[in-house]
Symmetry: C3
Subunit: 336 residues, 3 copies
């Protein structure tokens, strides 16, 4: 039987996602369990992490397991991902061996691998995690690559708990781009589009110019999700119009894909849209809207102190939920 990985929420049915969220809500009430008793999780970080690493490591512990944290290229050997190459460069070993060996040691493998930010045509293939999934003989979990499915689940759980219902259909949901001095990963933006449409919300992608619209793959997922689950999907470049009447404002900064790897050309556009910051004036246009962000967040750049410290902000709740949803996912995958 094929191994079931957790690479994208799009690979999991709504019924399955609902069951994971329900289990996560239970873990939020009763944190200890034995679902991973004596089991091991290997967490590979190709990029920094605070929440992800802490919540996976503690989640494994709380379920009786143990997580090993590896940073390839820093405390472990650099890895080759191309097949068939003559490995005479920097990489000391091939993903085939890394994934197969870790599968002998661990029951689950988590992978964080951001884009290289040089060529989106390459990065959009998400080669690192797909290579792990190809060679591993245990389930692989996406800890953020070009999507961030664990954040998606944590986000939906936070919204369900905020609104006091698991049914989010018809909520007016704004995913707003915000300024950040550097061009960032589109992962959480892609993920927000996917999961908000998956749960039947009426989604607006608010961004400075059409160039900030996301990769076609995720726009297509959004449209497909709308077709299957109701709700809506539109792109807007008008902050006031987008915020007006919103039930949910989710913020994220990302780099415009047409400028991928040529970021100096994007800088003037980016710099001209600092006013996309989430502030009290815009939030006042919403329908007593709730605000969230995946964190880390630069205060007074992406959102003002006033918004971050307001009761409308559920970013801390969403961050906490990472722990609960990841335990649900690990427990489900380890059961296979």
């Amino acid at each position: 039987m094929a191994i079931r990985h957790f690479l994208s929420t799009q690979d999991w049915s709504r019924t399955e996602l609902d069951a994971l969220l329900a289990r996560a809500a239970q873990f939020k009430k009763e944190k200890l369990g034995d679902e991973l008793k004596g089991k091991a999780v290997a967490l590979l970080f190709f990029n920094p992490s605070m929440r992800t690493r802490t919540s996976f490591e503690l989640g494994a512990f709380q379920l009786g397991g143990h997580a090993v944290v590896l940073q390839p290229g820093k405390d472990a050997w650099p890895i080759e991902f191309d097949a068939g190459t003559v490995m005479d460069g920097e990489a000391e070993e091939h993903i085939a061996e890394v994934a197969r060996v870790l599968s002998r040691y661990a029951d689950l493998i988590g992978v964080r691998a951001f884009p290289k930010f040089k060529d989106w045509a390459v990065d959009r293939e998400d080669r690192v995690i797909h290579s792990f999934a190809k060679y591993a003989t245990v389930p692989v979990i996406n800890m953020e690559t070009i999507t961030h499915p664990m954040q998606e689940l944590a986000h939906i759980l936070a919204l369900q708990q905020h609104f006091g219902t698991t049914d989010l259909r018809g909520k007016k949901y704004v995913l707003t781009w915000t300024y950040h001095p550097k061009p960032l990963n589109t992962a959480v933006a892609n993920s927000a589009l996917q999961i908000a449409t998956r749960y039947g919300m009426d989604v607006t992608l608010l961004c400075p110019t059409p160039e900030y619209a996301l990769d076609r793959r995720y726009l297509d997922f959004a449209k497909q999700n709308v077709a299957e689950n109701g709700g809506g999907f539109a792109i807007s470049h008008d902050p006031d119009a987008a915020y007006r009447g919103a039930d949910v404002v989710y913020a994220k900064s990302w780099g415009a894909l047409p400028y991928f790897g040529k970021w100096e050309n994007e800088k003037p556009i980016r710099d001209a849209h600092k006013h996309f910051i989430v502030d009290e004036r815009k939030m006042a246009l919403t329908n007593h809207g709730v605000f969230s962000h995946c964190l880390p967040l630069r205060r007074n750049v992406k959102a003002t102190d006033a918004v971050m410290d307001s009761p409308a902000c559920i970013a801390i709740e969403e961050a906490e939920n990472r722990l609960h949803v990841q335990k649900a996912v690990m427990a489900a995958l380890a059961r296979q």
Copy 2:
């Protein structure tokens, strides 16, 4: 109810400190317990560590808990500590979010954050740990900032065990500056002054010149402690006079505060006092005195091999005690 942190021994009563030391002495005999069963400790290291990290991590394990070790700016995101700033520099997130999120994952937070060594007026505010204490919703433990309270407890426990009594009143205690090629943190020196006077010892601060006297705050604590607990406090620049008749010699190197951030001007004074090294000749002047140091220690720079390898040296015992006192502190704080 306000959360009780462990930022300084000065915030804890002698009765409370005595209870912690008694509990630590018990842990030294019986290492395993369940005081942290299923609980989590987040340890944040802004600076390197060997003893602190090992002893906290193993202490949590021995009590049934789990410690997550984070190094912000290395494997986690760099953090902003100023309130109200526009975060367009290096920091990717604000302490408000870091402390709040970690409080959702962990039951205790330990913080190591040395001074920046540029401006003592800034460093003396000890902003990093106070920011954690401000925003965290779980207890915060000082793992060395500008004081080192865990070392204080380990030191006192080592002295109590060496002298075979918990009553250290009246012991002649010399805190001696020693040479080190670099200007070091005053934390352990501040701490030694605080705790030695707290336990009623007759304390001499031996240092090359008046410029090496410590920050007024700690001199004032020492005087206040003497007023409350008996004993004494004096400053000396004469090694032989200070060592003569001493029961305890505690060594540490530190940078002179008037030269803080302008270290090239301090170098000639520092270099002229290499003879402050703890050696057998000076130890022979003491009252069969015991020697200790917080470690790490440069042999034959701060103390000679002969002193380090003599029965009078209890530095290893003191280092071991870190484990025991930290377990007592974690157990006490997690009970809240």
Copy 3:
């Protein structure tokens, strides 16, 4: 009573090694145990690691213990190994204190310390691990220095399981040098010689020129082992002759000792022997031979994809065995 360390398989009798391998084979069937319940292992990595770190950390967990991973000079203080020096250089503390303090916290200490690659006369003394063994008051385990005993045990277990017998006497065993762009450690080559002769195999050391023969110490061990256990030992520079009829091909790259620290002079010889790569043509000369490597391995440099992905390759099995043999070793040492 003297502490028993695990620095080299040569320090352990065949009966003892056989018992460790038998215990490892049991752990392979039943992974959980309580041999390290409440116990601690300190793992010190002076060099990167993936398999070693993961397998030791998880092995400790599976037996009820906990491993602390330290990287001196990175997240812990740099260490001085010379005795009697005036420590006014980079090192902040002496091995005497490091080993003694860690012995107070942990029940076992693992050390990985590769050569410095400047002067073999210095590196061959293996000073780092011998210093740990000298000062530690708990058992020390070699996690690869100038030999790699844990790999030896994993290798033998893999061969025993491949051949379906614990008796490997008389097997024709080829240890082949392979090309690698950098001069590597001789540790695994030294180890392969030691353990293959120890188990009575008929060993050929295949290398480009006589300059690639290993250090006299290991050649002497091989000869002594042959004298005691039967089998044979020869050096060859002819790949086809060496492969012909082989039962086992074990590959490793290493730097030629006469060029140690003057690697630019070795480069032309190294570059002229890329054809030592393990490929299907050479493997076809063997007696349906099995192939292995300690990993990490550069594909299509040390061995071809075809060999690595063939059923003859047991490198993944050998890597898995690291977990099992290390648990056997830790359990045996912790029992002392």
